[in-house]
């Protein structure tokens, strides 16, 4: 009599779909088979290439301005990729020319968006604009005063503190390419810091991580970002005391919060 119940081995293959982890890989003796080994090598090669890649800043700048957005380009004090990797302190501050370039633009801003390639130019090239457009669309219907968008080369998260302070913005949102994982060479993060100034610590920021189609979607990322922006403005802070409870609110609620603040 036929037995259609799944066998334990079937169950194992069902479990395989429960995680993107590299489970139940085929063995050759105690080692991996050739194919599994080379699959890993390819993933590592892609992640390495993502780290080395530089952002096509001209292209992104043109994309921003062609949408009618005001953008400005700056550089961190890290001259090249090697000094960026070895000297995080340099990636956190503006180079002198960029600072002078920004100073005349200082003004009364609620929020400045900073776009920095960080460790994955690929992530920024793919995901920065879609998330930014969604966020700006919602913010356009509010009283928020938005600074020119700052496109930063060789920047780390804390470069946003220097930029925000120089521009006099009350809140900075840094879009940054995250450290590439083997399975995610193009993951973008967004870091939000209230009252940015040089010397802020990571405990004073909120972070949205793993933004990419296979992770946190553009729409969800923009939704959470707006929630955090509103809460940051309402409570005058970011960081560990500001929890991400955006999931508990329907998207329509965001504007209501903004109207109250």
């Amino acid at each position: 009599m036929a037995d259609d119940r799944p066998t334990p081995l079937d169950k194992i293959s069902m479990l395989r779909s429960a995680t993107p982890a590299r489970i139940f890989l085929p063995r050759a003796g105690p080692a991996l088979t050739t194919r599994a080994t080379l699959d890993f090598q390819l993933a590592h090669a892609e992640a390495r290439d993502a780290v080395e890649e530089r952002l096509d800043a001209d292209r992104l700048f043109n994309a921003l301005t062609s949408r009618g957005l005001t953008a400005v380009r700056v550089k961190s004090a890290a001259r090249d990729r090697r000094s960026f990797l070895l000297r995080p302190d340099l990636g956190r501050k503006l180079d002198d020319d960029s600072r002078e370039h920004l100073k005349p633009l200082a003004g009364d801003y609620d929020l400045v968006f900073v776009i920095a390639e960080g460790l994955s130019a690929r992530a920024i090239a793919r995901h920065a604009l879609p998330v930014l457009e969604r966020a700006l669309q919602s913010l356009g219907q509010t009283s928020w005063k938005i600074a020119p968008i700052v496109l930063a080369e060789q920047g780390r998260v804390a470069l946003g503190d220097d930029i925000g302070e120089t521009l006099g913005a009350r809140l900075v949102a840094v879009f940054i390419g995250e450290r590439p994982g083997l399975s995610s060479p193009d993951s973008m993060g967004v870091y939000l810091t209230f009252a940015p100034r040089v010397g802020r610590t990571d405990a004073e920021r909120n972070c949205l991580s793993n933004i990419r189609p296979q992770g946190l979607s553009y729409a969800d990322a923009a939704h959470k970002l707006l929630y955090l922006c509103n809460e940051a403005r309402r409570r005058q802070l970011t960081g560990v005391d500001l929890k991400d409870e955006a999931d508990t609110l329907p998207s329509g609620e965001l504007r209501a919060i903004d109207a109250k603040s």
Binding site: I12, T19, A21, L25, R27, G29, P30, L32
Partner: protein, 459 residues
């Protein structure tokens, strides 16, 4: 002031911590801190100067001020003068020769444990070659127990690290089952939670406990949440085997982790009170890593390797079951490439063992470091020769939650085979009992034990 003249060139080192920093083999973190030797010759001059210093100097000159740092107080107040006696008259260089000598065996090293301060261990490591670090560490085994016996000679254990980007229960379970089928998990089945939410951690703890109970595995589980979260969960009677915490080598570094010595003591007491260990009561699990103090600006201008050894000075006061350095996780600004990662891991294992810790190592790297899986193969083999207690088993070596590469379940199988190492005895027996290994202890091809069936039914 410490000074030396070599071939007509004089070198001056204003204080002990400067001398220690300049004597440290090259690594990017010390360069970033601005405390590294400025030339290769200056580094060796510092090593020569350090080699001539009496060990007792470290009892008289604190690298981090006693009054301002509870880790320094813990180290100096806990120093055992009687245990120190056999080496009290030695210089750092003579101490290296003593450690290497045939007369010094496992018992002598065990007796020395609390006579040695972390700074002394760090100092002697700086004038050891990699081979010395392996030779000496291999003499010293540190055995700990909870539900099995870890650290015995001829054994290599592993942690199953079944992380998942959203803590999905089926995903974690799938990765853990894969690890068990490959004979991993005798050190611990330990998940890094993606979220530090107490509810999520409670669910993960329950999941891992049920897995262990269902299969009657002689091992322990852990959810690597912040110690304060674990304390809350213990109050709520969650099934906590081990209390996990990342620790550093200065009070300020620990503050940056949101902890102090008092909360570690409190959590250990709470875990002991649960009485969940069946054959031993080592209930703590610590992770460390060179560079953590500098990254928190909590380094007092000390080199990162010395501060790492001081973290072991913290760990050993809490009788941990497991301690591992997460050596290459921190990134290239602290350890630039495979060479620096390898050196740091061997130093960490050496210092940890001399200080009496059950040292494991997360043999790992990030994608922005100049390293690859070949470097990890080399390091894993070196550490296994040095007698490392345990390493990580990550599915396919790819941690999809923390975004870095470590060692795989397969790597553990391979190294056990190459060096004729077995899992912890109770765990090895379990593997044989359920039919995962044959009479020689070798893994069976495509084995799926009948005892796994109920687990799969629920999956």
């Amino acid at each position: 002031m410490y000074a030396t003249t070599i071939r007509g060139t004089s070198y001056r080192f204003p204080d002990l911590k400067t001398l220690m920093a300049k004597a440290t083999p090259l690594r990017s973190g010390d360069c970033l801190a601005g405390i590294a030797a400025t030339s290769a010759a200056e580094r060796v001059a510092a090593q020569m100067t350090l080699a001539d210093l009496p060990l007792s100097v470290f009892l008289n000159e604190a690298l981090v001020p006693y009054e301002e740092d509870e880790v320094t107080r813990l180290i100096l107040d806990g120093h055992d003068r009687n245990a120190f006696a056999p080496i009290a008259s030695l210089t750092v260089g003579e101490f290296r020769d003593w450690l290497l000598s045939d007369a010094v065996d496992e018992d002598k090293l065990a007796a020395l444990t609390f006579g040695l301060t972390p700074e002394m261990a760090a100092a002697v490591s700086k004038i050891c070659r990699n081979q010395d670090l392996i030779l000496i560490a291999a003499k010293r085994r540190v055995v700990t127990k909870f539900r099995n016996t870890l650290g015995l000679r001829g054994r290599l254990s592993s942690r199953i690290q079944p992380n998942h980007p959203t803590d999905d229960a089926r995903g974690v379970l799938a990765s853990a089952i894969d690890g068990l089928l490959l004979g991993n998990g005798d050190a611990v089945i330990g998940v890094n939670p993606a979220s530090d939410s107490p509810e999520q951690c409670y669910e993960l703890l329950s999941l891992l406990d049920e897995l262990r109970e269902t299969l009657s595995i002689p091992t322990q589980s852990c959810v690597l949440a912040h110690v304060t979260t674990t304390l809350q969960l213990m109050e709520r009677r969650a099934p906590v085997d081990l209390v996990f915490q990342s620790i550093g080598g200065t009070q300020a570094a620990n503050t940056s982790f949101g902890i102090d010595l008092a909360v570690l003591r409190e959590s250990r007491e709470a875990a002991l009170a649960l009485r969940r260990g069946t054959i031993g009561d080592n209930v703590m699990y610590f992770e460390t890593g060179q560079g953590s103090a500098l990254s928190a600006s909590a380094h007092w201008n000390c080199d990162q390797q010395t501060l790492e050894a001081r973290a072991y000075g913290v760990a050993r006061m809490f009788d941990p079951l497991l301690v591992n350095t997460v050596v290459g996780f921190i990134g290239p600004e602290y350890l630039f490439d495979g060479k620096q990662i390898t050196r740091a891991a061997l130093e960490d294992h050496f210092c940890g063992k001399l200080l009496g810790l059950p040292m494991g190592c997360d043999v790992c790297y990030t994608n922005h470091a100049e390293a690859d899986q070949n470097d990890m193969d080399d390091l894993l083999t070196l550490l296994a020769v040095a007698g490392v207690n345990y390493v990580m088993g990550v599915p396919g070596a790819d941690d999809i939650m923390l975004n870095y590469q470590s060692t795989s379940y397969h790597d553990v199988v391979a190294v056990r085979r190459m060096l004729n190492l077995a899992p912890a005895p109770e765990f090895a027996q379990w593997l044989a009992d359920v039919g995962l290994t044959d009479a020689r202890g070798e893994l069976q091809p495509l084995a799926l034990p009948a005892s796994f069936a109920p687990l799969l039914e629920r999956a």
